[in-house]
């Protein structure tokens, strides 16, 4: 993982505790872990779909 999926910053830099807490509690991924771009996220009642415009869909 090169980028934090919560804030998009480099995963190896800074403190991402809050990002991990949000991800565990209420948030789908927000940023592409490969390129750091903001994801297009569609939240459905029982699932979510996320796609990076550069790297493609998240599986």
């Amino acid at each position: 993982m090169l980028h934090c999926e919560g804030c998009g910053a480099p995963a190896s830099e800074g403190d991402h505790t809050r990002c991990r807490e949000r991800r565990a509690a209420t948030d789908p991924p927000r940023y592409c872990t490969t390129c750091g771009r903001k994801l297009v996220v569609q939240v459905l009642p029982a699932s979510w779909i996320a796609r990076c415009v550069h790297c493609g869909p998240l599986t």
């Binding site: 804030c7 209420t26 903001k38 569609q42 939240v43 459905l44 009642p45 029982a46």
Partner: protein, 331 residues
């Protein structure tokens, strides 16, 4: 029992009259040791005037992000640098969302768009979406599309929209601290249009946006004055990048006091657990809320965030002997 709970027992439980603003404030100011009693009374009021049934709803965002408004709590405003990127779902995905909702036993499915108000293109998309859902899924359809013109309210009524959501969000006196791009009065006018067209009125709020207890009581009284069929109670989930990102999550006891107070202000209304409850109340608080005046829930995920697994909520309702049912017609 405290004086205010004596008053509530007489006027609300026995008389069916909601508390006035100054009385709501007294409930919000109850000491911690009186909270359980307040919740028990709110539950009695709910059972007396609404019954044990619970209305279950699912929601989905048809158009996410890029909103021109500046609602300070919202990660979908295009005015703030938030992690939410603009997105639209296609009609098959919308139908799938309705199907996921119906699979939980829910009776209501709300289509939401992050807009000031709908334009012609969005109205057409909503029309297509409603028609497609109707063909595939047996569920009431609600909409939340922002500020409406009289013509748009007519159109939605013709489409068969069962309920329209437009939250007041905050007390009139606090609203300018929350939104500056439209007014509380504009929201109120849309609610009037919805009511006039015969659609059910869903009008809720967000608790914990920095308002005082006086303003929280004012909000409850103003919501009661709207006489909504449903009041969704949200608790602020401070979203990164928004002007309210720095605000603390409301204390669970304050959230529960608000639930009891709102039920005592509106004894016959559908009072729905909505966004932020997982963060604010957790599992134990969710149970206390269901036994403290709440009689409806949003199951599953929200518009941009994830909720509890719907099976957990449905198990809780079964354990509490609270059957799922469409409610407004019966209250």
């Amino acid at each position: 029992m405290t004086d205010i709970l004596d008053t509530a027992r007489r006027d609300v439980l026995e008389g069916g009259r909601g508390l006035a603003e100054h009385e709501i404030l007294e409930v919000l100011r109850l000491p911690d040791e009186a909270l359980d009693e307040a919740l028990r009374l709110a539950h009695e009021v709910r059972m007396r005037w609404c019954g044990p049934e619970v209305e279950v709803e699912g929601i989905v965002s048809l158009k996410t992000g890029g909103c021109p408004e500046d609602c300070h709590f919202c990660s979908q405003s295009g005015r703030f640098e938030t992690p939410v990127r603009a997105a639209r779902i296609d009609i098959p995905t919308l139908v799938e969302a309705a199907r996921q909702t119906a699979a939980t036993g829910a009776t209501e499915f709300c289509i939401v768009a992050a807009v000031r108000g709908p334009d012609a293109r969005l109205m057409e998309r909503v029309r297509e979406g409603i028609a497609a859902i109707r063909e595939a899924v047996d569920i009431n359809i609600a909409c939340s599309l922002g500020i409406l013109t009289p013509e748009q309210a007519d159109e939605l009524q013709e489409m068969g929209v069962h309920r329209y959501n437009h939250n007041l969000e905050a007390a009139r006196s606090y609203f300018p601290e929350v939104v500056t791009t439209h007014t509380w009065e504009e929201r109120s006018e849309t609610l009037r249009l919805v009511r006039e067209r015969g659609m059910e009125v869903c009008c809720g709020c967000i608790i914990g946006m920095g308002e005082t207890l006086e303003q929280r009581a004012e909000l409850a009284a103003q919501l009661a004055a709207v006489e909504p069929d449903e009041v969704p109670m949200n608790f602020l989930d401070p979203r990164p990048g928004t002007p309210f990102a720095h605000l603390p999550v409301i204390e669970p006891r304050d959230a529960l006091r608000a639930i009891a107070a709102f039920r005592l202000a509106m004894p016959r209304t559908i009072l729905r657990f909505a966004g932020g409850r997982e963060l604010t109340l957790g599992d134990i608080g969710a149970r206390q809320g269901m036994l403290g005046g709440i009689n409806a829930i949003i199951v599953g995920n929200y518009l941009t965030t994830l909720g509890r697994d719907s099976a957990e909520d449905l198990d809780l309702l079964a354990e509490l002997s609270m059957p799922i049912r469409e409610l407004a017609k019966t209250l």
